[in-house]
């Protein structure tokens, strides 16, 4: 001891050095522990993706497509074709032409008598504006026929075009590929036209070019961009511009079939809905176009006017409600002798919107067109010729016979549709009858009905069959997901947090080794054993999934026994189960159960509110009766009340899905007051955030810039954008404004604003955030503040030790919320980006979400619920709540495609998709990114950043567990209900949402939450404050 005494300064310096080294090591350790966590989370994500992929592959239906091409010459020397009745054809497709648009609706007179309620009135915008088809069908019954045209769901244009040309049924998986339609390879009437050397001219929707490019005449092909729903006129004007010159007698020799596809009606529906004068104008324009075409065509030309699907009352389509399925078919010819064979007038009943009007299937058009044009019926066709289209009973019989033969040929060739022997007996009976038939007219009608019965029998059989699922792949997917769930829960709950860190590094090695081993093994199994009916991809992915699972369990089994891990989970229930964590588990459980019933899936939005308000009221109770100082209590009560009331208010913004029926009143519309509110919110929301910052006195340095300057400015821009948008859509304002400002300028203004805001919010602001803005201020003036706060300010200057500080003690304002205040700036960035792509009412909802999150964070702090299970679960619930209140539902038709054109005028790969993604999953992005705040909000710089990190990881994995559980249940029940009446309407869209959410959660939580933000913030604060 004594001899050390003179060396005291040396010792001190050594200590100092040691301290520095220790700090450095600690910092290094923190950095590396992030690597461990992120690698584990990444592998978990991969495991879940594999599960989702397997299930999707097995669930979304597929159909065997036969490559055979039908020929006119049959085996027995007879012909499979009829003589061509028309040498030329003009096909006009008017997208989304609902049936009631073209028939007379006389609601006004009947309503006057008081017999009908208001809903049945003729609508001035979309009724009686397109009368030409009905007039012709009445005036020239021998030359014109108008029919109701029933689409097969899904009612998307690509699917419908496939059905309308091949005559087969679409499978569901194609619905998603509407963005990049693939060329049709199976037999269709365009192919047949091409093969029979007919020239096909085309103009309009470019989906046709994507599907049939090789069959169209290159010189007469005029495609137009189809998915830009904001543009009502370009496509239509283009079609008109190219169609009429070609119809002119001197040019009409250039083509045999002319196809024009108008999109205006569809786009007017998407953009404004049917209740808009734009719809009226469009229908009137279509009326005049059809009249002009009729005046131009010659006697040998067949005119077919049809819609490919209808639209629902909001103007969208994709589902299978009657409004979406009912479309129009009109055929017209100027042939002198009777062209068409009209049925009795009672078939064409236009009362109550044509509810009882004679209807035909869309696939029925395929044999009809083929036979009328003298072509063989496409090989895969399942439709039946439309009786009216043939002039006499004999022709009808011949057409029915040929179609029956074609269907039978298809049945014999295809391996998957041979299961119903009664079809064969019916077929042989019918052919015998046909061959023995002379010309008795009574028996011929019966025979015709027999043919039709044969076709409908076979069609129903095919429909049932193609809803056939790959149960093995589906179970495999669910199994992989359940494995990932056990991995998740073990990782987050069973392994003691002290061990997780050390284990994480062992995981890296074993993950990589085991998944490689799994890949190699599965490859060799595939190569050596060649298992039938298993593709290489499936085999490899299974190996990879097994490898990751084993890679996870191997190091764990090395340390712990299953029994012990099980005890850990039981311990959680025994010791940690307080009221709040029980509630969290209970809500997880209930949310999983809703997938067992279609009604609960339909009303999910209301259930979420019930859960959230229950959490709010429990917080209120705890705050009111908890043991805490009076000030805290009042704050707690205030925050809970804010949370509850805001949650209730936000559910008043809703979009109804069709199944919710008349009980639900949709409020999600862009109105003048919602746009005005945007301006107001631009000032209010930053103020509210500011007041929350002030609560922890961290409104310093970066905060004012970010919140009061940046956020207000960007939100004002956002409000400007949506008011311009509103002006553009409102008739009155549009007329008023267009006097002094052209619409083109407004359009370019809008583009500019959206681009600037998104660029600032997503790139500039996030880049500046990576520079590490802190919301603290060093205050030298206060001498009386406690010393321990003063100590920390010297952390960056190692030459000083606490004892030496003789100068006035410096205080760091905002010290107690260093992490939270800085982290929340990132949340603001994301919020602003989400705000611009959300429609005004949705933007209000997102603003409320931000305030809710802040209140909740304060509550978690006051009630000491940071480490409780309820915290991440509530965040998840908030994500769902705002998913619904931003105008979404778990349906395909509620996807807001139009926001895709916010930043670009046409579809440009990352931008259009990014907008739609941000719009659809915006609330989930915000919730996921603000998840670490549960731990970080109001947390002073800590000496144990790794503990903080492990708490954040626990929250992240808990939220992931919640989502994985709901997704698994959604998968399980969609598989269970695969034959349910509601599967394509309710369960399948919800399954898609669950699958996408699982991917979104994994990617956001791992990449953004953990890797991008938490890692940066924790290391940075630790570098500055950590000693």
């Amino acid at each position: 001891m004594d001899d050390l005494h003179p060396a005291e300064p040396v010792r001190k310096a050594l200590l100092q050095q040691q301290l520095q080294v220790r700090t450095k090591i600690k910092h290094q350790k923190l950095k590396s522990s992030f690597v461990g966590y992120i690698v584990v989370l990444t592998f978990l994500a991969v495991l879940q993706f594999i599960g989702v992929y397997f299930f999707t592959l097995g669930f979304l239906l597929s159909r065997q497509v036969l490559p055979n091409i039908a020929l006119c010459a049959a085996e027995n020397g007879a012909s499979n074709c009829m003589d061509a009745r028309f040498s030329k054809m003009v096909v006009v497709v008017i997208d989304a032409l609902r049936f009631d648009f073209v028939i007379p609706v006389e609601g006004a007179a009947e309503a006057a008598e008081g017999r009908l309620n208001v809903v049945d009135l003729a609508n001035p915008y979309f009724h009686n504006n397109f009368p030409v088809l009905w007039e012709l069908a009445q005036e020239e019954p021998a030359n014109a026929v108008l029919l109701k045209f029933m689409a097969d769901p899904p009612t998307t244009t690509l699917q419908r075009l496939k059905g309308l040309t091949t005559g087969s049924l679409p499978t569901f998986i194609d619905a998603g590929s509407n963005f990049n339609g693939d060329a049709i390879l199976e037999d269709n009437w365009l192919l047949q036209l091409h093969a029979n050397e007919k020239r096909v001219a085309f103009m309009g929707d470019d989906t046709w070019t994507a599907l049939f490019d090789q069959y169209l005449c290159p010189a007469l092909n005029f495609p137009y961009e189809s998915l830009n729903v904001w543009d009502l006129h370009t496509v239509d004007n283009g079609v008109i511009e190219h169609m009429f010159p070609l119809l002119h007698p001197q040019n009409s020799t250039q083509w045999d079939v002319l196809i024009g596809h108008f999109l205006g009606v569809d786009h007017a529906g998407h953009r404004y809905g049917p209740n808009h004068h734009a719809m009226k104008d469009k229908l009137a324009q279509m009326d005049s176009v059809i009249r002009r075409i009729i005046s131009e065509i010659d006697d040998e030309t067949l005119l077919v006017v049809m819609g490919d699907h209808g639209m629902d009352k909001t103007g969208n389509h994709g589902g299978e409600s009657p409004d979406e399925l009912e479309s129009t078919l009109f055929m017209y010819s100027k042939q002198k002798n009777t062209a068409f064979c009209r049925k009795d007038d009672s078939f064409y009943d236009t009362s109550s919107f044509g509810k009882n009007y004679r209807q035909v299937n869309q696939i029925d058009l395929v044999p009809t067109i083929s036979l009328l044009m003298g072509l063989p019926i496409p090989f895969n066709n399942l439709g039946f010729p439309i009786e009216e289209a043939f002039g006499s009973v004999e022709e009808q019989l011949r057409a029915g016979y040929l179609t029956t033969q074609q269907i039978m040929r298809y049945r014999n060739e295809s391996t998957e549709v041979q299961g119903n022997p009664e079809v064969v007996s019916l077929y042989s009976k019918l052919t015998d009858l046909y061959n023995s038939l002379e010309d008795g007219s009574e028996s011929s009608t019966a025979l015709l009905e027999g043919f039709a019965e044969f076709q409908s029998l076979f069609l129903e059989y095919c429909k049932g069959l193609w809803a056939k699922f790959d149960l093995v792949l589906m179970s495999l997917g669910i199994a992989v997901l359940i494995l990932s769930l056990t991995v998740l829960t073990t990782y987050s709950r069973s392994i003691p947090s002290v061990r997780v860190l050390t284990l994480s590094f062992e995981f890296i090695g074993s993950f990589i080794a085991m998944s490689l081993l799994g890949l190699v093994l599965s490859l060799s199994i595939y190569v050596v054993l060649r298992p039938p009916a298993v593709s290489l991809k499936t085999c490899l992915l299974t190996g990879c999934a097994a490898g990751i699972t084993i890679g996870f369990w191997a190091p764990i089994m090395d340390r712990f026994s299953i029994l012990w891990l099980w005890h850990q989970i039981c311990d959680f229930f025994v010791y940690n189960l307080n009221f709040f964590s029980f509630m969290g588990l209970f809500f997880m459980f209930l949310h999983c159960l809703i997938f067992a019933s279609n009604s609960f899936v339909v009303w999910e939005d209301k259930l979420i509110l019930l859960f959230i308000s229950t959490v709010g009221f429990s917080c209120l109770y705890t705050a009111a009766f908890g043991n805490m100082p009076r000030a805290q209590k009042i704050l707690g009560i205030a925050h809970s009340l804010t949370f509850i009331v805001l949650s209730r208010i936000v559910t008043m913004i809703n979009l109804c899905r069709e199944e919710q029926g008349s009980i639900c009143i949709p409020t999600f519309k862009t109105t003048w007051w919602s746009v005005l509110l945007l301006f107001l919110l631009a000032f209010i929301v930053p103020k509210i955030i500011k007041s929350f910052y002030k609560l922890s006195s961290s409104y310093h340095s970066a905060a004012p810039l970010w919140i009061e300057t940046g956020m207000t400015f960007l939100m004002l821009m956002n409000a400007c954008y949506w008011s311009l948008e509103f002006i553009e859509n409102d008739d009155y304002l549009q007329k008023y404004v267009s006097n002094w400002l052209s619409l083109e300028i407004i359009k370019s203004f809008k583009l500019a604003i959206a681009r600037i805001v998104l660029f600032i919010a997503l790139i500039l602001a996030n880049f500046s955030w990576t520079r590490g803005p802190l919301c603290v201020k060093i205050d030298f003036s206060r001498l009386s503040t406690s010393t321990n706060e003063g100590d920390a300010s010297h952390g960056s200057e190692p030459s000083e030790s606490p004892q030496e500080s003789e100068r006035p003690a410096a205080t760091i304002l905002g010290y107690e919320n260093v992490y939270g205040s800085s982290f929340f700036l990132l949340v603001i960035n994301v919020t602003v980006a989400v705000l611009i792509v959300t429609k005004p009412l949705g933007a209000i909802s997102i603003c409320i979400l931000i305030v809710q999150i802040l209140s909740l964070l304060e509550l978690f702090d006051i009630l000491e619920l940071r480490r409780n299970l309820i915290a991440p679960v509530t965040f998840g619930l908030l994500g769902y709540q705002h998913f619904f209140s931003t105008g979404h539902q778990a349906t395909l038709s509620s996807i807001q495609w139009d926001v895709g054109f916010l930043t670009t005028q046409s579809i440009v790969f990352p931008f259009t998709h990014l907008n739609i993604l941000l719009n659809t999953f915006g609330s989930f992005f915000i919730v996921c990114i603000s998840l670490p705040l549960i731990t970080l909000w109001r947390l002073p710089p800590t000496a144990k950043p790794i503990t903080i990190l492990s708490q954040i990881v626990t929250n992240v994995t808990t939220l992931m567990t919640y989502q994985t559980m709901t997704s698994i249940m959604s998968f399980v029940f969609v598989a269970h209900f695969r034959r349910h009446l509601m599967v394509w309407k309710v369960f399948a869209p919800r399954f898609m949402l669950s699958a996408l959410l699982l991917i979104v959660f994994n990617v956001t939580l791992t990449l953004v939450t953990m890797w991008f933000s938490t890692r940066r913030l924790l290391t940075q604060v630790n570098r500055i404050f950590g000693k």
Binding site: S599, F600, V602, Y621
Partner: protein, 243 residues
């Protein structure tokens, strides 16, 4: 922690003392609810009769009218039941002097019941607001929701006020107590109120189902859930006293 198998590596575990229930009791002296609840007179199950009566009276045909009627019946029954409760439980502080001041006791019981009923009726707007915050519809059905609030506050609040003898301080201390669940489950009245809330909460579950039954109309399932919970809670609380 003791189950960790030593595998030859160093580990540090910090043990923090978890405050157990007994310690909490020491910090906060145990709270008890005044009165005795062992009398079988507390189990008249009038709620069950009322809800069955309401259904028989055509609750599904005309919910609002029948519910108003039901609220009046409930008010009368709760007045009688409140008096029985007040007398039988002897929640009065002057239990030992019961024999002497029979007549004064009678008027004090009546006064207590009347005041408690009045206060619980004043509580109905609060119940209404809470129901709306939990997601009761705002377009239409407001009257139904309000009457439901009347029913609920009569069933939940009135008995509570009676047994605590309008002593809010004590009610507060019970709610504040760390063993609040234990207290609730061992007292028939508290348990009945608690289950009434729970029953109403669960009452929303059948509404979305697409069965198209008349009883799926807005407040009926909540009302039935509330009444059912009330009865169930009373039974559970009564039995668990003896366990």
């Amino acid at each position: 922690m003791s189950l960790v198998r030593p595998r030859g590596f160093k580990k540090t575990v910090s043990f923090t003392v978890q405050p157990t229930e007994s310690q909490e009791e020491e910090i906060h002296p145990s709270v008890s609810i005044p009165g005795l609840y062992t009398s079988p007179l507390l189990l008249p199950m009038h709620h069950l009769l009322i809800i069955i009566g309401l259904f028989k009276d055509g609750l599904t045909q005309n919910p609002l009218r029948v519910m108003v009627k039901g609220a009046l019946v409930l008010l009368a029954v709760q007045l009688v039941y409140g008096y029985v409760l007040s007398v039988v439980s002897g929640a009065d502080s002057n239990k030992e002097k019961r024999g002497k001041k029979q007549s004064r006791n009678f008027s004090s019981h009546v006064a207590k019941v009347l005041v408690a009923t009045l206060v619980s009726l004043l509580f109905t707007p609060v119940a209404f607001v809470v129901l709306v915050l939990f997601g009761a519809p705002l377009y239409g059905y407001l009257a139904e929701t309000y009457i439901l609030g009347v029913h609920l506050s009569l069933m939940i609040v009135q008995p509570l006020l009676i047994i605590f003898g309008m002593d809010f301080e004590q009610l507060y201390s019970v709610a504040k107590s760390a063993t609040v669940f234990k207290l609730i489950f061992t007292n028939p009245i508290l348990c009945s109120s608690f289950f009434c809330v729970l029953g109403t909460w669960l009452g929303v579950v059948p509404i979305p189902l697409d069965w198209d039954r008349p009883w799926q109309q807005w407040p009926i399932t909540l009302l039935a859930g509330g009444y059912g919970g009330c009865v169930l809670g009373l039974l559970i609380g009564y039995i668990s006293q003896y366990l």
